[in-house]
Symmetry: C2
Subunit: 228 residues, 2 copies
């Protein structure tokens, strides 16, 4: 249960004051993201983050309520780059799929984000905006309110599942080496107990790929057409 507190930005007393110096919430979030990308989620600790910023540990707490708050902020920063692409008004499929791809791409750019996303789901600030936009697109395409909700929720579920699954298995660039730990597990499957899976371990190893992503996505989208 991630505590949904929004204590947030202590920088909101009325007498507006220019921060004296180097440290700021943004700089902290940025550093946390860098740390996350370089050394993974468990490397993001308050001490290590402070060390990286050449600051005392407790200084961070002036700009961040909590570690939870910090992690939220990191997720927000990453996902705030995503948007529903412009496009033909009646090409709802293209626009929605474009959005979902963008979501995946954003996540792939920061593999260690997986842990964060799976804790919080996609209950992250910017995603709400995006869903608002998606909803509009679907309504315009002829979906009912409820139909639109069901539809994008279904799609989001798929994409979310795909992301959370694949991210821990990505170590390099998006197009390169998925596979790895997952492959190892597959290779160690006993051929007698798991004949099919063992024989197919090559295929299974590449399931976390753009190709598979598109496969499921296309099937799903095509089955979710508006009633009209």
């Amino acid at each position: 249960m991630p505590s949904n507190r929004r204590v947030r930005s202590a920088a909101s007393s009325r007498s507006r004051r220019v921060p004296r110096n180097t440290l700021s919430r943004d700089r902290i979030v940025e550093a946390a993201l860098a740390l996350l990308d370089e050394d993974g989620f468990e490397a993001v600790t308050m001490p290590s983050l402070a060390k990286r910023l050449e600051v005392g540990t407790m200084s961070l707490y002036r700009h961040v309520a909590d570690k939870d708050d910090l992690v939220d902020a990191v997720a927000e920063r990453v996902l705030s780059g995503v948007a529903v692409p412009d496009g033909d008004a009646d090409d709802w499929e293209g626009r929605v799929v474009g959005y979902l791809r963008a979501l995946r791409d954003a996540a792939l750019a920061h593999p260690a984000l997986s842990r964060i996303l799976s804790d919080r789901g996609l209950t992250v600030g910017p995603v709400f905006e995006q869903l608002e936009a998606v909803h509009a697109v679907l309504r315009a395409a002829g979906f009912s309110d409820l139909g639109a909700v069901r539809t994008f929720y279904t799609l989001l579920t798929y994409v979310f599942g795909f992301i959370v699954w694949e991210l821990p298995r990505v170590h390099q660039q998006p197009a390169v080496a998925y596979t790895a730990a997952w492959n190892d597990a597959l290779d160690q499957l006993d051929p007698t107990d798991y004949p099919s899976l063992h024989a197919l371990r090559r295929q299974l190893g590449t399931t976390a790929s753009s190709e598979q992503f598109e496969y499921g996505l296309q099937h799903l989208v095509s089955s979710l057409r508006p009633p009209g």
Copy 2:
């Protein structure tokens, strides 16, 4: 990156010896599961677990390599109850859907499992067996090897995403109160910034439901028919 070490069961030196007393790996896993269900994931610590078993903390390490190892074992125990249901040979949809439902039900029985699953994905012992069986069903239904893999991977992605999303939001019985923290977040959406989402917060609140689960699942399955 959950370290994939399988150090496992130290109880494998050749001179078979009857454990002298009360403690055993099974009892530990059982207690951990109970603790998980009662007080959530973060309550499962080695000290608290030991206290519950009325045992010293370090005693646990005689039966469990790691905390990671323990958590793996818990996941295995929960998922080992799931199976592909018997059924008509050519009713692949029914059988596969039945399996996926069973998977969700198993997870719903232990809401706090979410954290564990999202870390490990479904790379948990018993799931491999189950996939082996699912693969057989799909092959028998006319899917190619690759088609079968793509198909169940797609389905699994959806189910996995759904589960990981909904579990943290379940506090009571399966049929009763999903919604809660997620609803709170929705209620706090600014009506001017998020007109549609705000208006639809009732609908959105109940998206984590069996109905929505089936909705997506049925659409997905129907779009994934075998080539023949």
